[in-house]
């Protein structure tokens, strides 16, 4: 379920070392949630660096005149036994319910994910957790920013974590690049495809696209800059579109060329990729 009125960036990944308030969209998210009467919660990691990040977020939350609950990562994520995605998501649901029982309209959370690096949480488990959180955000009044701005050696994990979030703040990581094509994050719930998509890059393309299924949202692919797409590439797109449709969402191709549209229609994938002409 999509909750009416939630801001577009309802489940964001924050990457990079820039100050959060440098991103107007984050400020907007904070203010929007405060205006909606959401309860604000800041989950703070361990150590000096985490403390500095928490100070920045706290200041930002305070600029929105939001009352902020500040908790440690051990409490916020129940880190004693590592990460249990199902249990953790259930905990968020309980907190949303508690916020609403307290007369608030929902919950706004900024969570420092540094602890997952310290606890050496397996990447696949982390991606599973974030996908479940996206699904929760699609059906419950919760807005969240997951702070993955910690440094290497887990930067690749942070980049992968970003791929399963509908929105990315701060530094947008490269998603995929082949010899003649590229996939990059555009706006919220958007990827930009460019160049020539063919069978030699289809595996990389599929790998770059599959995480969007975990967004649990309608997804837009900006394809104005796609100069060519063959059947293998279209199959990768159709697979994502079919998966999204099975979850009640849509894959929207924005700006397909006449040649691309013709190829899609001829391949009988218009129902998934160009429903307006199917």
């Amino acid at each position: 379920m999509q909750v009416a009125g939630l801001p577009d960036h309802d489940h964001s990944c924050f990457l990079g070392s820039s100050a959060p308030d440098a991103d107007p969209a984050i400020v907007a998210a904070v203010r929007d949630s405060a205006d909606r009467g959401f309860r604000a919660m800041l989950v703070v990691g361990e150590g000096a660096a985490a403390k500095r990040r928490a100070d920045r977020w706290h200041a930002l939350l305070r600029t929105a005149h939001a009352a902020v609950d500040v908790v440690g990562a051990q409490q916020g994520y129940d880190t004693r036994e590592g990460l249990d995605p199902a249990r953790q998501v259930a905990a968020w649901e309980e907190r949303v319910a508690a916020a609403r029982e307290a007369g608030r309209d929902g919950l706004f959370v900024v969570g420092d994910m540094e602890w997952t690096r310290q606890a050496d949480v397996p990447t696949d488990l982390l991606l599973d957790y974030e996908a479940r959180v996206s699904e929760l955000h699609a059906r419950a009044p919760i807005t969240g920013i997951c702070d993955y701005s910690f440094a290497p050696p887990r930067s690749r994990d942070a980049s992968r974590a970003a791929s399963v979030h509908p929105a990315v703040r701060g530094t947008r990581p490269a998603v995929a690049r082949g010899s003649h094509f590229s996939v990059s994050r555009a706006g919220d719930r958007e990827l930009r495809l460019a160049g020539e998509l063919d069978g030699t890059g289809a595996a990389a393309l599929g790998e770059a696209l599959l995480p969007v299924i975990a967004w649990h949202r309608d997804v837009t692919l900006l394809v104005e800059e796609v100069e060519f797409a063959d059947i293998a590439a279209l199959r990768a797109l159709a697979r994502v579109g079919t998966e999204l449709r099975g979850r009640g969402h849509r894959l929207v191709l924005r700006g397909p060329s006449a040649a691309l549209r013709r190829a899609i229609v001829t391949c009988r994938w218009a129902g998934v990729l160009l429903p307006e002409v199917a």
């Binding site: 003649h180 020539e196 063919d198 069978g199 030699t200 060519f228 063959d230 059947i231 190829a263 009988r268």
Partner: protein, 311 residues
């Protein structure tokens, strides 16, 4: 008449019949009879005919109905291989019912290469629909076609109804006929064809075709580029590389072919509707959808697929 009888009797097996008719009046009598019989029994009808015969079928069919689909052979059947998958698509919407498929594939305007593909197509019909409860009528107009064309009609049908209403039957091994047709050599490409070995880069194949065809085909060049890309991708995927792409042109057409050392195990591929869930099989089919002619030849020496686009 054979088809009308089988339609009326609720026959379950495939009946594939050539109907040699004489002009519009003969078409109305011989082919129209089959269509009327099918409609009288509420059976689905899919017919692909030249524009000069479509009007007759439209008059017989009457008001539009989901059970009747009429198509122009000069468009849908410009590449004759398209008609089979179109028929599969149509009859899949009417499962469990006997159907009538009318396809007049051969007019006097067909080139020798197209005639050869009509021959392949007729053999594919026998194999593709072997287990289908389908009546297939292939009209051939004796008033327009020469003796060679009519030979095509008679040699590839087990049952032939002539213009005088006489039915002739003969033994016909569809599988052997298809294998022979698919092994028949194509004319050699010219020595000065633009040639490129396929060595891993589909981009290079596309560039070759794009640069060669753009001044000759205009916007249709993009269809040939995509089709050539699919052939080269098949070579990389199924034949382990080592293929060659050639492009050339004559007064009427731009031609592009890809040859490699692989051999097709399914001789109907490219003409039949691909399995939507399958990982492969769509590339060759796509070439038939995009190009004016697709010639597939395969034997133990390798496989060649030649694409033709009218200039």
């Amino acid at each position: 008449m054979t088809v009308a009888v089988t339609l009326a009797a609720g026959e379950r097996a495939l009946v594939h019949e050539a109907v040699l008719y004489d002009g519009a009046e003969g078409f109305d009598v011989l082919v129209g009879d089959a269509v009327r019989t099918a409609l009288a029994h509420d059976l689905p009808v899919f017919a692909v005919a030249p524009p000069s015969r479509l009007g007759i079928l439209q008059d017989i069919a009457g008001d539009p109905s989901p059970s009747v689909l009429l198509a122009d052979m000069s468009e849908l059947g410009r590449n004759p291989a398209r008609t089979i998958s179109a028929a599969e698509e149509f009859f899949a919407r009417h499962p469990g019912r006997r159907g009538l498929f009318v396809g007049e594939p051969l007019g006097p305007e067909r080139t020798a290469a197209e005639r050869a593909e009509v021959l392949v197509n007729e053999a594919v019909v026998d194999v593709a629909f072997a287990d289908a409860p389908l009546s297939v009528v292939c009209p051939y107009d004796v008033s327009l076609l020469d003796a060679d064309a009519l030979d095509v009609a008679t040699c590839c049908h087990a049952c032939v109804l002539d213009a005088d209403g006489r039915t002739t039957r003969h033994d016909h091994d569809a599988t052997a006929a298809l294998a022979a047709a698919m092994a028949a050599p194509l004319d050699a490409p010219p020595a000065d064809a633009a040639t490129l070995r396929i060595e891993g880069s589909l981009h290079d194949v596309r560039e070759l075709v794009r640069l060669y065809a753009a001044p000759l085909l205009g916007p249709r060049m993009t269809d040939l580029v995509l089709a050539a890309n699919e052939l080269a991708a098949n070579t990389l995927r199924h034949a382990g590389g080592g293929g060659v792409v050639r492009v050339w042109h004559d007064e009427r057409s731009v031609l592009c072919e890809v040859s490699d050392g692989g051999r097709l195990s399914d001789l109907t591929v490219g003409r039949r509707l691909p399995d939507p869930e399958a990982e492969s099989g769509r590339g060759l089919w796509m070439t038939t959808q995009l190009c004016d002619l697709t010639q597939i030849r395969t034997d133990e020496a390798g496989t060649t697929v030649r694409l033709t686009m009218a200039r």
